[in-house]
Amino acid sequence: MPKEIFAARLENLARICEFVTTVSRETGFDEADTYSIELATNEACTNIIEYAYGEGMEGRIECSIEVDEKGVTIVLRDWGRPFDASEIPEKNFDVPLEELGARGAGLRLLRGAVDEVVFEPLPGEGNRLTIKKFR
């Protein structure tokens, strides 16, 4: 199972995404699916950096990828604050433009891009986030 550890910084988003898209392409996913996997990984890691760790908190993200005949499973592990995505409402776009706020768009993209997203806050030990994209 390919695994890499990255410093949890926004400037590393491109490197983390490159890691997952390389595995995705090498294991036969097409460009559209590879893009969806990249989008979900990017949004998940952004949440980890901005919410689980937050401003001024150094940390790391461990990214593991497992591929089989059914699809790809990406597990993102962090050691920041427990993050419960159910506390953030998914963005509702059925409102006038001027009433739209900033929260929830990332989760909407994360959940919309892939087939399964499971958040597991681990009290005292950070979070585990599992993303699955089927073939």
């Binding site: 491109a14 995404c17 952004t46 993209l109 891009a113």
Partner: protein, 110 residues
Amino acid sequence: MVETTQIDKVNVVKAAGRIDSHTSPELKEAFDGLLDESRYKLVFDMSEIEFLSSSGVWVLLETQKRCRLRNRGDLVIASANDNIQKTLDLAGLMHFMKMYEDVDSAVGSF
């Protein structure tokens, strides 16, 4: 990474590569600079953008809010590839932004 040009009354903003939480502040700065100069007829040329995250989506929405205030203008999209269009669709941005195949059509829409 971000270039702006003017064609008649329309300003074209062109960016390249990845738009994520690390790079989107530069894009926001470019749009804010034009809006602060009362330029509200804007085209975003996405022909060289390979990746767009939710942070990029929010730069576009916040820019659109300022453009459309009191019907003074519009932000329209040109040359978005299939993956970018999928992101815009997933994010619900299609409700709030017109899309054109190329910059000429987008500029001509004003």
